[in-house]
Structures are given as structure tokens and as C-alpha cells.
Symmetry: none
């Protein structure tokens, strides 16, 4: 079965710190993303890259090194350029989430996400080689995301978008309502016995307790425990009288 | 104007590499998050933390160091524990996105996001001090997100949720976690007294009860009623002996 990550490549342009290449590879792999393309990295291969990749050395081993962006984008249908800077002539923009949903919907299209240099990002020419400008919304006073952090967010959104179609949760079922009712009867009995509740006016207290336990959605096993506690209280009192 | 980040604290437990503390501070600040709480960090302050924080040294400078998790969570209304591991008794789960939307909706509630150790994450006890277990969906073959990467994703989702936010829900606040803890102590005492619980082996039963009541999110008034019941049981036993 192919996944969205079979058709997504992460392109890093002119990365200066090889440690960031390793950290990006790790970020990619945690989300299931595997295809890394490096355009003119300053130093690669490099021990720092391998160290920071941790268990993602396979992503590094399969990385493709290119001389220019054109080569790196060969065969792509959609190209997204990540950049924190606004441009004088704004490029069509998307948020990471919109980008990921869009990419997930383009079944069988080949997609590239392009990340610029650590300090200066993408040039105008590079951004204009992209269909869309993707900007991670960040703190206006400090938008300095680490390269691997930006890769992490984009790959995370890609993974979320690919999961959105199928998300069945298999929570364990709560106890059937009749069992819950029997518990409430038992509970009322016991708190009357211990003289916490005035049996003439159970209203407010019992209502709050019902709301509380209903919200908790106890399952069968929880109900067994709760009723076990109630029975132990009753046994204790009968033995003492 | 206050933002969601005025009421969110990021809690890091027993971080072993100070560089990760710095990287987490940077990740936080890029998203506008500012309150960092460190529980027994192995080495802090530390030059590595400062170096990796880059321009987020103000987040480090304002970080609070605590001796234990209880201290770190004092005054919180909702606590989310990040953990990659499934548990034998599953805790109520949320995805990062659900968690962020939930947090954004609880207007004026004090929120904690708790992150465990780099290698072993959160203990069961630590997770059980949380209302929800938040799991970042990751590659099943390699789920090893760097600590700062996990912080980045959660803070990113918080920022996204705060931007989506239109009309905050005004739910009544649950009781602060310290009151909930005192209730659990009282509960354990009473169910030992009535001989329902073997004090040598409280594990399974207490864990289920904690999960149940945590899920119910009792407010102050609910806690008063529950503790009133417990006290009535104790009084009843003492009068009878």
C-alpha cells in the first residue's frame, strides 16, 4: 500500500549546519516521511548529521544530493516553499494545514516541500519556483523556528492530513444504562445508611452525583468496583451492630 | 489582553540533557508560549541550555524549578500528559489537536502540559496525575520524537487552536488538582478502612478509581459532596465501635 509519504520529498537548500540535516531526518522519520533531497549542502555527509539523525540514518543513507533546485524538483507536480518572510509581491499562500490537506487530496501527485537556508531562508527566485508560499504562523516577536522544527511541523501536518479520512476510535463501551441505574439505587441506599443523605430530600445531592458519574462513563468493571466499595461499607456497618 | 499562553505552563520532568531544555524554550517561544516549569532537571542552569535556547533566553530566565510534579501542577485545572507509550489501563486519550482545542475552549482555566524524561517518558504515577494522556501520532516503526520536537508540535497546536477560537465556552471549572489529590488520599483511606482495598496492593483498584474520577472532572462542590460521603462513612464506623 502506498502512503502520502511515498510521494513527498523534503528539499533542504544549502543547509549550513550538518547537525540540522540529521535533526530534519529524524523529524521526518518520526512522522513516516522518508525522501530527503539536499541541494548544495555545505557539508555532507558529516558525522554531526549522523549523530543528530539518531535512528533515522536510513533517511540520510537514501538522501539524494543535487546541485540546484531545478534538479531537486524534477518530476514534481506541486511544490510548496516554506518561508517566514513576507514578500513585496505576495505569492499564493497556504498555512501548513492547508498545504497538507491539499497535498493529501492530490492523489498520486508528486509533492515537494522546500526549506531554505538557516539564516536567510529562500531567495525570491527560489520561492517563485514554488506553487505556494507556506508560512508557519509564529510569534511575531520571535519567529525563529529551528530548521528541523519547521520540518517537524510540516511532516506532522502531512501525517495528520493522511489520517483524517480514517479515524475510527475503539474506546471500550461504557456500562449499559440499566447497570448505571442499579448503581445509583445502591449508592443512594448507602449514603442514606451512613446518614449523609436525608432520604426525605435526596434531590440536589443525588442530582450532582448522577451528573458526576454519568460524565465519567464508567464501564462494567468500574461499576463492579464502585458497587464493591458500597457493599464493603454496608458489610462493615452490619458487622459492627 | 490575555492569550491562551498566559494560562499554559510547559512542565518538563527530570530532563537529562540541558540542551533539550534550551531547545524546548526556543520551540515554546516561537509559538508565543512562555511559562516553563522544570521538575528536578539533571543540570540547570547550564551553558548548553542557554546556547540551544538561542533568542529564547527570557523563557529560561523565567523558568520555575520544582522538586516534584505535585508542586509543578499546583493550581492547575487541566493537566495533559504527553506520552508515546500505551498503558495497561488506558487513560482518557486525546490527540494534540483535540487537546489544544479543548484547552482553548476552557476560558480562564490554568493548563499544564507535562513532558517526561527523554528516554523513559512518564511513569504510570505521573500519567495518573494528568486528566488526559496525549499521544502524538507517529511512525510506529520510529516514534522517537526529540523532546523539543514534541514541545514544538504541542505549542504549535495551541497556537493554531487559539487562532481558530471564536466563542469560548464558559464551563464551570473543575476542582484544582491539589483538591482532587486530597480526595484520592481520603478515598483510599476509607476503602482500606472498610476492608475493600488491601493496603499492601492498592495498585489496580486505585488506578481505576483515579481514572474514573479524573474523567468525571468533579468541581469544588462535587468534591465537597464526595468527601462528605467519605467522612459520613468514617463517622458511622467510629460511632459503632
Amino acid at each position: 500500500m502506498t502512503t502520502i509519504f511515498d510521494r513527498i520529498r523534503i528539499v533542504l537548500i544549502a543547509t549550513s549546519h550538518p547537525g540540522n540535516i540529521g535533526a530534519a531526518a529524524r523529524a521526518m522519520k518520526t512522522m513516516g516521511c522518508k525522501r530527503l533531497v539536499l541541494v548544495s549542502p555545505k557539508s555532507y555527509p558529516d558525522a554531526d548529521a549522523t549523530a543528530r539523525a539518531s535512528g533515522a540514518d536510513d533517511v540520510l543513507a537514501n538522501a539524494i544530493v543535487c546541485e540546484n533546485l531545478e534538479q531537486a524538483l524534477s518530476g514534481c507536480h506541486y511544490v510548496f516553499g516554506l518561508s517566514a518572510r513576507q514578500r513585496t509581491i505576495p505569492w499564493p499562500q497556504m498555512s501548513p494545514r492547508e498545504c497538507a490537506r491539499y497535498a493529501a487530496e492530490q492523489d498520486s501527485a508528486e509533492i515537494a516541500l522546500v526549506f531554505g537556508r538557516e539564516h536567510s531562508g529562500l531567495t525570491n527566485d527560489e520561492l517563485e519556483a514554488c506553487h505556494y508560499h507556506v508560512q508557519i504562523d509564529a510569534n511575531p516577536d520571535y519567529a525563529s523556528l529551528n530548521l528541523a522544527a519547521a520540518v517537524q511541523i510540516l511532516c506532522y501536518e502531512m501525517r495528520m492530513a493522511s489520517l483524517e479520512q480514517v479515524a475510527p476510535k475503539d474506546n471500550s463501551l461504557p456500562a449499559p444504562v440499566d447497570e448505571l441505574e442499579r448503581f445509583f439505587v445502591h449508592l443512594e441506599q448507602v449514603i442514606v445508611e451512613v446518614e449523609f443523605l436525608n432520604p426525605e430530600q435526596p434531590g440536589y445531592i443525588m442530582r450532582r452525583l448522577r451528573r458526576l458519574y454519568t460524565k465519567a462513563q464508567p464501564d462494567k468493571q468500574d461499576i463492579n468496583i464502585l458497587r464493591g466499595v458500597l457493599s464493603a461499607v454496608q458489610r462493615g456497618r452490619r458487622n459492627n451492630t
